[in-house]
Amino acid sequence: MTSFYRKLDAPRFHRIATGEDGWASNVMDNFVSLWAQKPLLKAYHDANQSVAHNTTTTLAFNTIRYTDGYGESFIDSPDNTELTVTRDGLFYVCVNVDWGDSVFGERTVSVVSGATTLASEYQKPVDTSGVGYCSQALSAGVALLGGSTISVKVRQTSGSTLDVNAGSTTEFDKCELGLIWIGETNSI
């Protein structure tokens, strides 16, 4: 694995005219980081997860769909509910949640970092046809510090326990989390 990018320091490294190539090596590392091995991770959970009525529940993601570059990793095994960010920067995060059927109540999905809610999405099904299916998709750009964690929390008020349906080998099928590094930011 190639090292994550190193900022170019021309006066220090640039020796191209004499055939010394520390600077050139850095150039390649930068392209690898920005393009060839973009830091990212996508994961899903391969079993239904039960969510009690009116109880905020943290979802687990136990299967990596793909990761690349210096991808983030789940480190709090065995429950796989926290994603640890390994570097500072602006990230694009997306979550898919597919609920078991119920025409009652509300559904909320949130992305949180510690006690801070980074983004959330809300639905309130209306009882007219009696179908009651509900899938939610949430995406946001978030600035994160290396070492911070991300979790996905859900809540439903159907009056009874509902499942968050399992993901599968088919991408975006029901329960999935994605995170990709966009670049550095000075705002954090």
Binding site: F31, S129, S135, L138, I180
Partner: protein, 190 residues
């Protein structure tokens, strides 16, 4: 399919002590070209009247109880050959470059005055290999909706040459107006 990534190490090994060849410099310029102007597609479809009960316009609506490809009559931004620009209302796009993409779609349904003003509805981003026998969905749906807006977003890895499209569905009992916008942007990755 646009500019391809150049593996600079394949052109010149930085550790061998040799002077850097011109082709290596060209590779740098090539790679910056893609990073500065990545493949993107941003478009919208016609706006919806927001007052009264508008007449159902065939060009701005979708049929009842049919999964329908969304056509994009107003392409705002386009890099990377997602479609043939002679097509004034593209619906099926082609992935120009293998990698990771951010995908978004905002849709606004018009159900006022229809047989069932709170129908089931969804929008989805669909991508499939060139044989169309494998499909994946990024789906955002609601049970019977009292609000008219549905948005979705996500990231996914797409392979050059795959077909991609946004689809919509509603079962109001009639044709229903549908406006919206979409964006697809390349994030990197090979």
């Amino acid at each position: 399919m646009g500019i391809e990534y150049v593996d600079l190490d394949a052109v010149h090994q930085p550790t061998n002590g040799a002077l850097v060849p011109t082709s290596w410099g060209h590779g740098i310029a090539n790679n910056f070209d893609v990073l500065w102007r990545p493949p993107v597609f941003v478009a919208s479809r016609s706006s919806l009247p927001h007052s009264g009960t508008p007449a159902i316009d065939e060009l701005r609506s979708i049929a009842n109880d049919e999964v329908t490809d969304m056509e994009w009559g107003e392409v705002k931004e386009h890099n990377g050959d997602f479609y043939n620009i002679s097509d004034t209302s593209p619906s099926v796009l082609v992935v120009p470059k293998t990698g990771f993409y951010a995908v978004h779609c905002k849709s606004i349904f018009g159900f006022d005055g229809l047989s069932n003003p709170t129908p089931k509805a969804f929008v989805a981003f669909v991508y499939s290999d060139d044989t169309d026998d494998t499909e994946n969905y990024l789906l955002r749906s609601s049970a019977d909706i009292s609000v008219e807006h549905i948005s979705l977003g996500g990231i996914c890895r797409l392979t050059a040459g795959w077909n991609i499209r946004f689809v919509a569905y509603q079962n109001s009992g009639d044709r229903a107006h549908l406006s919206g916008s979409c964006s697809i942007g390349y994030l990197g990755g090979i």
